[in-house]
Structure formats: C-alpha cells, structure tokens
C-alpha cells in the first residue's frame, strides 16, 4: 500500500504566530518538531530563537525579556538576537561558543513568518503577502489553536469545501445545497488555485442579517481557494450583490498552518470581510465561524486517530478532490527535493 502521507517541507516560511501574540513576554511554540521562542526587542522587531537554554534543558520562553536579550528563568544565561549567549550570572567570562539557534523572521500582514529550514535559502524565498489582513478596507477577526492532526489533513480540508453543508448546515451558504458546479483548478509549480461559480442563491440568514440584505433575493456566488505556500491558504467567497443593493459581499478566509510535528498543526485562522463594518457585526459573526472551525478541528482530530489506529487507507477520491490531489503532488515534490 502506498504511503498517503505527504509530509511537509522544511524549506518554507511558516507563520508560527500572529503579530498580536508576540510582545515583550516570550512566546514559546513548537514547529517542525523544533522548539522556538519568539519575542519583541526594543526596536519593535521580532526575534526567533531555539526555545531551550544552552545550559540546562529548560525553555527560554519560561524566562523573561531584558532589553534586547532573553534571559533563562533557571540559569540566568542571557542571549542576544543572534542566539549568542552574552551574559552568565556566575562568572565574568561568557562560555566560549555558548549559543542557541536563531531563525530568520519576517513580520508581514499581521503574521510572524519564521524560516526553520536551510538558513541560507531564506533570503531566496519570500513569505506570501497577505495585505488584506492589515488593510483598513477589510475588517478581520479570527483565532489560533493547535489541531491534533497532521498538516496534510488540514490541506485536504481546505482544498474542498463541499463538506461544509454536511458539517455545519447553519454556516453553509444555501448555494452549497445544490449540485456543485464544475470545479476549475489552476496550477503553477508550487501553487494551486481553484474556483467554482455557483448559481444564484439566497444568502445564509446570518449573513443577510449582518449586512442588511434581504433574505429573499438570490445572488450569484463565487468560491475561490488558493494553496499559496506549504503554510498558507487564502480562500474567498463572493456574493455578487448588485451595486444598488450594497455591492459585492466578500469574505476572505486566511489559514496559516504550521506543522508542529507529524500529528499536530498550529492553525491561525482569519475571516476578513469588505461589508458590514464594525464591532457589532464582528461579534455576531465570530461565534458562527469559530463554532464551524472547531467542528472541523474535531473531525480532523478524529481522522488522525483513525490513521494512527488503522493506517492510511486507499481512500476513494471524487472529482471534487482534484485540488487536494494537486496540493499533495506539490508537497511530495518539495519534500523530495530536500533530499
């Protein structure tokens, strides 16, 4: 039987945290089976270091930030932004060569991207831009958590939304109730885009309510998904409301996924919209999306348990899986290239 797991490439940017999670208090996390601590220094930039004191096996994230250094909460060793140990409490001489790994960081579009692969290659690649996450024209809310499932299961999930109507009939747009129109998939070497143009259908009740659009009218709708990098999906849903009724209502769904290890994934999700601005609408929408994403998390965790128990099966694929299969193909190749 073929191994249906794809693994994940190390030579890629992964969003280990959202900007708001990283400040003057060390933020400890784990990615690609590597402990990482993130913290902000005096110039506002973010530093990523190996989250393990060079002196004793104790996470630096349990220590504190002091100026531009991070100080271990056990040994008192202080490390600068390059990971070099610059101070130890017990002697004047800093032990020669004492250091922890440091990793390239790019903070952009509300995400903290870290490169944990071959360090020299980081400058030859760019993290994907997500300008809508910080653009004032888009109102964004979201959450972040760990899912006890391999990143491949999350990719498969984002690659096909036809399950939404089954998983969560409340959030599901009425358009999804019909037979799915043809999926159109567009490939490049390392990305997969797909879209479907859904026939006119009413808005879901909750969306009509926050946007003040009548529930009786039907509008054409367009679904888009994009696997932009091993750590990023950017999807959207457009409801083509005519200008006189308020104009197109667009949701953008951003999913930053970072493999913690083979069986766990950190998931930062964001829902951005270009309509119904304001905190009141966000407060109404947030629980709807959160409850859907929690349901998805639970399902993916169950799938991981099934795989752990019974192994990968010869899953039957259907037409709607085309995008997922292309994503797997890209990931397999990127992993193979790492030798």
């Amino acid at each position: 039987m073929r191994d249906r797991s794809t693994g994940y490439p190390r030579n890629a940017w992964y969003a280990l945290a959202a900007s708001g999670e990283v400040g003057g208090t060390p933020f400890g996390t784990r990615a690609l089976d590597t402990p990482v601590v993130l913290f902000r220094i005096s110039d506002g930039s973010i530093v990523a270091l190996g989250d393990r004191d060079a002196h004793r096996p104790y996470p630096l994230s349990l220590g504190h930030v002091d100026g531009d250094t991070i100080v271990s909460g056990y040994s008192g060793f202080a490390y600068d932004r390059t990971g070099a140990c610059v101070r130890v409490p017990s002697q004047a001489q800093v032990p020669y060569g004492a250091r922890v790994p440091s990793y390239p960081v790019v903070e952009e579009g509300d995400l903290v991207w870290v490169w944990l692969g071959e360090p020299s290659l980081a400058s030859l690649r760019h993290p994907v831009s997500t300008p809508w996450l910080t653009d004032a024209a888009w109102e964004t809310f979201g959450g972040e958590w760990e899912t006890a499932a391999g990143v491949g299961l999350l990719h498969d999930n984002f690659a096909d939304i036809t399950h939404v109507a089954v998983v969560d009939p409340v959030i599901s747009p009425p358009a999804l109730a019909g037979v799915a129109p043809a999926l159109e998939v567009e490939l490049t070497e390392t990305t997969v885009h797909f879209h479907r143009d859904w026939p006119a259908a009413p808005l879901p009740e909750w969306q009509a309510k926050v946007s003040g659009t009548p529930t009786t009218a039907s509008y054409p709708q367009r679904e888009e998904g994009a696997f932009l990098a091993p750590g990023l999906w950017a999807d959207r849903w457009d409801v083509l409301v005519p200008a006189e009724d308020g104009g197109t209502q667009t949701f953008r769904f951003t999913h930053a996924v970072t493999p913690v290890d083979e069986r766990h994934t950190r998931h930062i999700w964001r829902v951005s919209r270009n309509f119904a601005p304001g905190a009141e609408a966000s407060d109404a929408l947030r629980p709807i999306f959160e409850s859907y994403y929690l349901k998805v998390r639970e399902i993916l965790e169950t799938m991981q348990q099934v795989i752990d128990r019974d192994g990968y099966g010869e899953d039957v694929n259907v037409a709607a899986d085309l995008a997922a299969l292309q994503v797997r193909k890209i990931l397999r190749r990127l992993v193979a290239d790492e030798g």
């Binding site: 071959e118 037979v179 129109p181 159109e184 070497e189 290239d337």
Partner: protein
C-alpha cells in the same frame, strides 16, 4: 448533471520589459505583469511555456532569481533548425511586446545534496543559473562545466565570472568538447549530476552515469523528445478512470491524452511529446510503458506516475487516478 472538474495551468499575458542580446543568437527576455503584480513563485529548474502562436508553444527555463517575485527571465537561442519557436521569439518579442505565458512548472528540481556537478551545453546553461545560486547559498560544494560553440556564443559568462574557478568554460573552438570520461569516470558518492543542453551531450552524460554512477545521481532536462527506442509498437488497451468512474478504449493510433480529451475528461497538457511534464498522472493499476523524457529509471519502475501524452500500457488494461 455532470460536474467534471476543469484543470489548467496559470496563464497570463506578460510584457517584455527588457530584451537584451546576451550572446551571439541569444536573447534574454525579462517578463512582467503589465500592472507589476506578483507572478507565481518558482524554484530552480522551473520552466514556463511561451505561447507564440496557435500550435506554437515552447518551453524555456527560468534563469533569473526565484527571490524576484515581480519578473521572469528566460534566455532564448535562435536555433538554426528552429521549428518556428525561437525564430518567433527573436523576431517578435522586442521590448514592450506582450506574450502569453503558462506555468511555471518544474521537472528538473534541484534536490538538496552536499555536492553537485553541473554540465551545461550552450543554451542549456539557463536552468543552471538559479541552481548554482542556490547551491552556492546553501554552502554546497559544486562545479560547473559549461561548453559552447565559441566564447561569443556563450551567454551569461559575465554573471558566472563571480564564481571564480568553480566554473570551467569550454568554448569548443578553443578547448574542444568537454572530456566527459574524465568528468564522470569515477562516480562520487553524494554528488548529484545536473545536465542540460543538446541531445548529443545529454545522451553521452546519461550513458556514462548509467554505467557506473549510483541510481538517482543524474538529473537531466530535455527540451526535445528522445528518439523512440527500437521495436516500440502501439497497441490498443482499456483505460479505467478511477475518480470519474469511466472506462474508455485507447486505440493503437491515439494517445491516452487524446482519448481523454475527446471523452470530455479535463486533462492538462502542453508539449504533448513527453518533455514538459504537464500531463503527469497518477497510476492506480497496470503496467506502464514509459516513453517520456522526464521520469528517471527509478521513477519509471515505481509505476506511480506517467506522462499520458506519450506513454502507454503494456498490458490490456490501465487504471489512472483521473
């Protein structure tokens, strides 16, 4: 109601923002979106299609930097035996012109290794440029042997000068052909060989690597199809499309790709002669007769993927993940 998915590659009309003569008969084109928007990312070894006319689609390696997300660079040799592609590029793609681009795709990826031997012939230097930059950045031990007709015909010599003696230039009129026996005579564990260039060079490198190098050491890219082996005769077979739940008949005079297209199954293809890799498809069951110029021996034996534009079935039935 049928809901067969449609799959295609990224396509866009890009503007030639620069067209520079890089050597005798070689032009380098820099292509960018009219509005300056970012282009799809790629990795060293990738190529794009230039759609130069109806039925005139040619593949060119990307030879700029993957870090440059705003433009693609290709180097195009005006081939004396041009089937029309390179002639059209040289005649029509001046600065300010627009060209339809498809891709990028990559069937010549740079696999991480401690050591590399790059062997380029003529315009085959193009995919090597980003590979070398990456090998250099990763601290790998590498060397490039670059042959050409004459010094004046060899593009990118100035860019390569920065690498010093890691690069050996062999203009044929001064230094003769590369001594492949000396270069490849003693296989080195852990060294990967990458080669691109004229068919004669590729065949010669392939022959020597097959004789004594560990399987998987050689990576090569062909831009023209390999001559078919003797005794390959086409026969008809049954084709099962697992995902679509359909069974088609492939007659002896048609390819799998053609049969799928005629049956309305969305398959993606480009060169249709087994060199570009666009139509790679997962094999579920059946004995594949591989005839492409992309998969290496190991990949062919694994029977996991096939190029449906040229490869066929040895037995009576083949099942694909389509």
């Amino acid at each position: 109601m049928t809901t067969q998915p449609i799959v295609r590659e990224f396509e866009a009309d890009l503007k030639v923002v620069a067209a520079v003569e890089a050597a005798t008969d070689v032009v380098t084109l820099t292509l960018a979106a009219e509005d300056g928007s970012a282009l799809p990312p790629w990795t060293p070894g990738a190529h794009i299609d230039l759609v130069l006319g109806e039925d005139l689609v040619r593949q060119y390696s990307l030879c700029g930097s993957p870090a440059d997300t705003g433009s693609y660079r290709v180097g195009v040799l005006r081939a004396p035996d041009s089937r029309g592609g390179s002639k059209a590029v040289h005649a029509e793609l001046h600065e300010g012109a627009t060209v339809r681009v498809r891709g990028p795709r990559n069937h010549f990826p740079l696999v991480a290794a401690p050591r590399y031997l790059f062997i380029a012939g003529g315009i085959g230097i193009t995919p090597m440029l980003p590979m070398i930059a990456e090998a250099e950045a990763s601290g790998a031990d590498w060397r490039l042997v670059y042959g050409g007709r004459s010094r004046a015909s060899m593009a990118f010599v100035d860019e390569l000068a920065a690498y010093g003696d890691k690069v050996t230039l062999l203009p044929q009129d001064e230094a003769g052909f590369p001594d492949l026996d000396a270069l490849l005579g003693s296989p080195e564990e852990g060294t990967l060989v990458y080669t691109c260039g004229p068919t004669g060079l590729l065949d010669a490198v392939e022959e020597r690597c097959a004789a004594s190098w560990p399987a998987g050491s050689l990576h090569l890219e062909r831009f023209s199809a390999k001559a078919p082996a003797e005794g390959e005769e086409d026969s008809a077979f049954e084709l099962v499309l697992q995902r679509s739940g359909r069974t088609l008949q492939v007659p002896a005079d048609k390819s799998i790709f053609e049969v799928c297209r005629e049956a309305g199954v969305s398959v993606v293809g480009s060169c249709l002669e087994g060199v570009c890799g666009t139509c790679e498809t997962e094999v579920v069951e059946g004995d594949v007769e591989h005839r492409d110029s992309i998969l290496n021996e190991e990949e062919k034996e694994s029977n996991e993927f096939m190029m449906i534009c040229v490869s066929r079935c040895r037995g009576e039935s083949l099942t694909l993940d389509l």
